[in-house]
C-alpha cells in the first residue's frame, strides 16, 4: 500500500527540510487525521445538512452507555427524475434507534418505518487497530449494501483497508511529512462496475488555517481552504473541478459558533445559497432552522426541527 504514494514527497530526508527556523523533531510527528476526514473542516462549514420539512429527534439515555432515539420526519422528498425539473413527493417516517457507546465498542442501529435498516459498528481491537462496519438494508432489491473497514494507526501514519459488497475493495494511506503537512493516497476497485481509481491528497494545517487538496483518477480535483478568523468565526472556501465532465463548482461559506447558537451559511457558484441555524433554547433542547435557495433551478427548501437530548 505504501507504493501507491509517489516516492518523492513522502521520503524527504530530515536534514533537507526547509523549515530551518524551528527544530521539528521528525521522529515525533503527530498522527494525521484519517484519510476520509481530510476535508472535515471544509465540509462542516460548507455542507450543512439542509433538509425540507419538519424534523424532530428525541434521544433518551437509559444508562451511561446505552441510549434510545426516536425521530420523526415529515416533508417532501426529491425523487431523481430524467427530466430537468425536480419531482417532490411528500413523505413521512418514524425512525427508532438504539446506541451503545463504550470506549472500545460503539454500536448504532436505526430502523425506519419504510423498511430501511442502518447499522454501524466501530470496534477498537487494540490501541492501533480498529474495525468499522456499516450496513444499509432496504426492501427494494439491489439497494442493500455493506462496507467493512480495517484501520491501522501507526506512530505518524494511518492506513485503511476497505471491503464492501458488490466486490468493492479500497485502501488508503496517509503520512505526516512535517508537523503541519500530511500527504496520502488511496486506491479502489469496484468489481461490479469494473472501475478502479487512484487518488492523492495533501493537507496543510496550522492553528489558524487548514488547506487541503485532492486529485483522483475519477476526474475530481478538489481544493479547500478554511481560515479560523477568531475563536467564534471561521470562513471556508472550496473549489471542485471534474476534468472528465468539465464541471466546475466553487463555494464560499462562514461558520459562526456563538454561545447560544451555531450558524452556517454558504453560497455557491451554481447559484445556490444555504443557511443552517442551530439554536440552543434550553439545556438539551435545540431548535434547528434550515434554508436552501437555488436560483438557477428555482428550487426553494425550508425546514425546521427540534432536537431533544
Amino acid at each position: 500500500m505504501a507504493g501507491l504514494v509517489p516516492p518523492g514527497p513522502t521520503t524527504v530526508p530530515a536534514g533537507e527540510s526547509k523549515k530551518a527556523e524551528e527544530k521539528t523533531d521528525f521522529m515525533n510527528l503527530p498522527c494525521p487525521i484519517p484519510f476520509e476526514e481530510l476535508h472535515r473542516e471544509a465540509l462542516m462549514s460548507l455542507k450543512p445538512e439542509a433538509f425540507e420539512g419538519l424534523r424532530f429527534d428525541f434521544t433518551k439515555g437509559l444508562n451511561q452507555k446505552f441510549s434510545l432515539s426516536h425521530s420523526v420526519y415529515m416533508g417532501p422528498t426529491e425523487i431523481p427524475s430524467q427530466s430537468a425539473e425536480t419531482i417532490k413527493i411528500p413523505t413521512a417516517h418514524y425512525e427508532f434507534g438504539a446506541n451503545f457507546i463504550d470506549p472500545n465498542l460503539m454500536l448504532i442501529g436505526r430502523v425506519l418505518t419504510d423498511g430501511r435498516l442502518n447499522a454501524r459498528v466501530k470496534w477498537d481491537l487494540t490501541d492501533n487497530l480498529t474495525v468499522k462496519a456499516n450496513a444499509q438494508l432496504s426492501n427494494e432489491p439491489h439497494m442493500s449494501h455493506g462496507i467493512v473497514n480495517f484501520d491501522y494507526k501507526g506512530k505518524d501514519y494511518r492506513s485503511q483497508f476497505q471491503m464492501g459488497n458488490a466486490a468493492l475493495f479500497g485502501a488508503s494511506y496517509i503520512q505526516s511529512v512535517t508537523r503541519h503537512l500530511s500527504l496520502g493516497g488511496e486506491v479502489f476497485w469496484a468489481g461490479q462496475h469494473r472501475k478502479s481509481g487512484i487518488g492523492y491528497a495533501a493537507r496543510y494545517e496550522t492553528d489558524k488555517m487548514v488547506a487541503t487538496g485532492q486529485v483522483a483518477s475519477t476526474g475530481v480535483v478538489a481544493l479547500s481552504y478554511v481560515q479560523k478568523v477568531s475563536e467564534k468565526v471561521s470562513l471556508a472556501s472550496d473549489f471542485m473541478y471534474n476534468y472528465i465532465t468539465r464541471d466546475v463548482t466553487s463555494s464560499v461559506g462562514y461558520d459562526y459558533i456563538l454561545r447560544q447558537c451555531r450558524l452556517r451559511g454558504k453560497i455557491d457558484s451554481n447559484g445556490c445559497a444555504a443557511a443552517y441555524l442551530e439554536e440552543r433554547l434550553n439545556m438539551g433542547l435545540n431548535f434547528i432552522l434550515s434554508a436552501e435557495i437555488d436560483h438557477r433551478k428555482k428550487d426553494y427548501k425550508f425546514g425546521f426541527g427540534l432536537t431533544v437530548g
Binding site: 459562526y256 447560544q260 451559511g265 445559497a273 435557495i293 436560483h295
Partner: protein, 105 residues
Amino acid sequence: MAAQPRRGGISLPERRSASKPDSSIIARITSSPIVSRGKQAACDAAFVSKKLLRSTGKAAWIAGTTFLILVVPLIIEMDREQQFTELELQQASLLGAPPTAPAHP
C-alpha cells in the same frame, strides 16, 4: 408629362410629387426624416428600458432573497450574543461587588 395633351379626350389628373411646396404642413412634418428618426429612437429607448427594468428587478430579487437568507440571521444572532454578553457583564459587576457573595455560575 402633365403638360402634353392626350389624344382622345381623357386625361389623367397630374400626379403630385412629394416635395411639392403646396402639400399640408402636418403631412410635411410627419414625413420628414427627423421625425421618423425620432420615432425609431423612442421605440428603441422603450425596448431597452423595459429590458433594463426587468433585469434590474431580477437582480434585486436575487440579491434580496440571498441577503435575507445569509445575512439577516447573522445580524440577529450577533445582536443576541451582544445582549447576552452585556447581561452577563452586568450580572458579574452586580454580584462581584460584595465580597461575601458566592460566585454565581
